[in-house]
Amino acid sequence: MRKMYRNKWFLSGMILMLAAFAVAGCGGREAGNENQSGTGKAASTVETAKERGKLVIGVKFDTNLFGLKDPASGEVKGFDIDIAKAIATKLLGDESKLELKEVTSKTRIPMLQNGDIDAIIATMTVTEERKQQVDFTEVYFNAGQSLLVKKGSPIRSIDDVKKGVKVVAVKGSTSTKNVREKAPDAEVLEFENYQDAFTALKSGKGEVLTTDNSILFGMMKQDPNFEMVGGNFTDEPYGIAVRKGDTEFASFINNLLKEMKENGEYDKLYEQWMGEKPSK
């Protein structure tokens, strides 16, 4: 009898606690919503960031050359990061007021819409579907599928990938499908990951490796005996995403990009990360 009594108390205690949590949760969310819409209709990040004294940008932490966390120092580095720093410097006068938050391809749009981050600079391709959910700035990096060959290879473009040429690619990537379409006579050898594919190219299992140029730039940096040829044969322009309707912030970034391209800062950053000047 006593045991049951105690159990009852325990149970009601639990229910009370749960209820308290639920209430707290609701309260929190409401407060968050207020915050987001409280400063006026579609408050621009240009103002809110200045008020906060902080700019929060979502970047990748796992992508070589664009946003990669150095496990030793804990510092995140890359092309995307430097663009984010330039925005923070221009907006708040100090790059230390920039806060980087890790995003993945799955989390970045919800995080932007929730207000967790003010912009996405995370190797994000501009697509029509995404334009429904976010606003994009001008393209800041022209990504696309390209070819990597050993220096001095007779293969200079996708047109040279004919019958008898072995192409190295990564299993299940869209780049495998693209190259089969563009060069249907070539033999495609598929590997588990980029590292295995690059090793196979290095040891001569194939004459050419194909995937996104953003990854090929990294391979070229690793081993300068290889070069990219023929430009991009698919188009995947990367843009910076801001919240839908945040046009003031988008044009602020666009002006900055234009400025950086004019004063050569963009080219400098591009060359620093990609190892070569951007092709015009």
């Binding site: 299993k171 299940g172 050898l189 598929e190 590997f191 588990e192 295995d196 090793t199 196979a200 040891s203 001569g204 299992k205």
Partner: protein, 217 residues
């Protein structure tokens, strides 16, 4: 649940992979049996140096992961200007790896024939080679068949590592079909069935051989 259209739609790729896996298995089986027997004999030969060579080979090879040996043949040999494709490099790696286990199985079989048999044969005037050929090996073979059959079954299944070096085997094509159709469950169920088509008859053959040898003994 099981989508037969996966099998029908990709029949060519399944068949190519199946044929290649069969070829890889047969080649590696013959190769590893020959090499394995050789090293088993080295390990028990009445010569200290040969024993050491045999033991070194077996211990070195069987204590390294198979995938590493296969990688070595695929990506390591080009440093010596010997560039093999995935099929050849994979088959060689598989042969070398399995031969170490076969050497051990055969050695254990030979050693399990009582010492008295050798002594009796030798005192009857037979030479060492004659003793091996007529007295010891026929008895050893009977003991060795079950563990040998195990090794051959393992070999067929282990051939799936060729998938990671573009060895064009069943697993390689299975991965490609999966990434095209995204019907993971069905794709690999059929891959598994094709492996069973190879391994089940092998299993039965080993059992039958075991019974026959037992009777003739």
């Amino acid at each position: 649940m099981l989508d037969v259209s996966v099998l029908i739609g990709n029949w060519d790729r399944y068949m190519t992979g199946f044929g290649n896996t069969l070829a890889i298995s047969v080649l590696a089986l013959i190769g590893s049996f020959v090499i394995g027997t050789l090293f088993a004999v080295l390990r028990i030969a009445p010569n200290r140096l040969l024993n050491i060579i045999g033991a070194a080979y077996v211990e070195f090879v069987r204590n390294i992961p198979l995938i590493l040996i296969v990688f070595l043949f695929y990506n390591g040999l080009p440093a010596l200007h010997l560039n093999l494709n995935g099929f050849v490099a994979g088959t060689l790696g598989l042969t070398v790896y399995t031969s170490a286990f076969i050497a051990e199985a055969i050695r254990a079989g030979i050693l399990s024939v009582p010492q008295g048999q050798t002594e009796a044969a030798r005192s009857a005037g037979l030479t060492y080679v004659q003793t091996m050929r007529h007295i010891i090996l026929p008895q050893a073979m009977r003991i060795v068949i079950p563990p040998l059959g195990n090794q051959f079954l393992n070999l067929i299944k282990n051939s799936s590592v060729l998938g990671v070096i573009a060895g064009l085997d069943l697993m390689y094509y299975g991965d490609l079909i999966n990434l095209d159709t995204f019907k993971t469950f069905s794709v690999y169920i059929f891959v598994g069935m094709f492996y069973l088509i190879l391994t089940i008859p092998m299993s039965f053959a080993v059992n039958a051989l075991e019974r026959r040898m037992a009777r003739s003994g």
